[in-house]
Symmetry: C2
Subunit: 316 residues, 2 copies
DNA sequence: CAGGCTGATGAGTAATTGCCCATGAGATAG
DNA sequence: CTATCTCATGGGCAATTACTCATCAGCCTG
């Protein structure tokens, strides 16, 4: 542990000398009494461990314009559009950083707030970009269960990681994501602890959710939460996307039946009482984002240029 | 202007693709349809224009330890210790970033605050690291005059730059830094507008000041605010440093006479009612920092490892 | 319109960085 | 005690980046 943390210490120091003080890796090597190669390794360790946070502080005109058009067209309260990286296939790069910045800002206030968090790869990536903070005044509540089909804690449940980083009180949902039957769900939801957590979600001041597509590589299916047959049935019924497990159709309506009557997640908090921010980019998510906007499920959106353009184009 | 801002736009985009999306400059060049060299120039422009903000998110153990020892030894409320860059002669690198982060955090709250700001190279550098913000709820007040001896607005008056960046209401002091006589100072201070500004300073919730040394290269002398003779007289009288123009001795007491009876700055806000943060590093400033601490003029300090070590060592 | 200034551009080149690999120290299991 | 494994290290080299320089377009100035 000592080795490990002192290694990270050195990495942070090397990263600092490199990025803040502008030293070359040669100079760092001399100052830290290591070889040039080791200095390089320390710097790259600092980067890969997420110790180095970069932000670009300039409102790129095109992104701003897209954001304001999206805002007025869909009556949204918060829109962030980040530049696209044409050719990159990542579905998180950029939006994760922007989401982290938003989350950080909301948490940096003194007044206690309740923040509800969904799940998924995008949100996971966003949480990883969060800096360490001291926010014991806030409450972070999970909207979805954290038990995977095999009984383990689901990898993409992000509330633990988040609460750990920002030192907030956390309220996970010790439930499967989708119960095996309606009866099981009802039973689970009757537990006092779960009741309290559900009640807390409903009062969330600000909510961040990913938007999952329901194509052939739907995360819900890939991660084993639903079967291939269920996925097909959802598609058949017109589902285009899923938010914290709830399948929605192109109009943003929550479907009846199929998996939805067994989803153990909290309802998506109302956008009447708080801010509900969707975080998603990429062509696969486009129908889902459009649906969520159409149905008024979200009143905030963090996406990228390409997706924003497409959203504006298709409404014409 | 269009060219200029679209150039910065491109620079921001290039910086984003480089630092956030991890492209090489070759890829960026292709994506932005410019030559590789131009892409390199855009990236470096983004850096030199301060569009790219890097922070290292790891509490380096040694810095933390120094900070907590300084805190308890001098009864301070806020101490930040950043890594040192051994061999660098810069007096701002590192502390400027840390100060900017502190300022940003104070300004990001919703509740209106009054922030008082000194002057000097260190503070100037810190302000340059601030991101653009929207903070019309706050008031930023200058502690010192902004008229240079030649009648121009002094370069190091930082309130304008700052108010511009964060969109706060600003209260500069349209005065010389040091009046030509006690009578002139009294007259100037009687102006209603100045009175109001002085009153505002006294109520500051948080104050950031640099600490100027009074050695042969004292900024006050180099920038022409005081003459060589006055500098010598101050040294003779035991002055070791100066805070917003007020010369102090090794015990942190404000000297009587010499230049001090003509300094047109506000008094340093009381640390009883608010936080007064000194920002300084380096051997030249060491006596000044020690004096400010000894006299209880500040209850917050942002400095670097080496300076922090020296401060702890000399008290033994 | 000539002259001169400013600033952008791409070629060329030196400096810096990233990465692969062989080596060896130290840990661990048998 | 030995075989084996893991992992940090530095050499070497290719890729990438930074910088210098000559050129040229645009733009004031007289």
């Amino acid at each position: 542990m000592t080795t490990n943390s002192s290694r990270l210490d050195d990495a942070a120091r090397a990263g600092w000398l490199y990025y803040v003080a502008g030293n070359t890796q040669d100079q760092i090597a001399r100052k830290l009494n290591v070889s040039r190669q080791s200095a390089q390794r320390l710097v790259s360790l600092a980067v890969s461990e997420g110790l180095v946070k970069v932000r670009i502080d300039h409102p790129i005109a095109h992104c701003l314009e897209l954001a304001s058009r999206l805002k007025s067209r869909y009556g949204l309260d918060l829109v962030e559009v980040v530049p696209s990286d044409p050719g990159s296939s990542s579905t998180t790069v950029g939006v994760a950083e922007a989401a982290a910045a938003q989350i950080e800002q909301r948490l940096s206030g003194q007044d206690p707030i309740i923040m509800a968090i969904g799940t998924g790869r995008t949100l996971k990536a966003a949480i990883e970009k969060l800096p360490s903070m001291e926010c014991p005044q806030h409450k972070v509540v999970s909207l979805t269960g954290n038990i995977a089909p095999d009984g383990s804690a689901a990898f993409y449940n992000v509330v633990f990681t988040m609460a750990d980083k920002v030192k907030s009180r956390s309220f996970p949902m010790p439930l499967p994501v989708i119960a095996s039957s309606q009866e099981e769900r009802a039973l689970l939801h009757q537990q006092p602890m779960i009741q309290a957590t559900l009640a807390l979600s409903a009062k969330a001041d600000v909510t961040f959710v990913g938007i999952g597509d329901l194509g052939p590589n739907a995360p819900l299916f890939v991660d084993g939460f639903i079967s291939r047959d269920e996925l097909a049935a959802l598609n058949e019924a017109g589902a285009v996307a899923e938010i914290v497990g709830w399948a929605i159709d192109a109009g943003g309506k929550t479907l009846e039946g199929i998996t939805n009557d067994r989803v153990a997640s909290s309802p998506i908090p109302s956008r009447k009482s708080g801010l509900v921010v969707g975080i998603a980019k990429g062509p696969a998510k486009l129908p889902g984002i459009a649906a969520a906007l159409a149905g008024g499920l979200i009143n905030g959106l963090i996406t990228d240029e390409e997706t924003a353009s497409a959203l504006i184009g298709q409404g014409q």
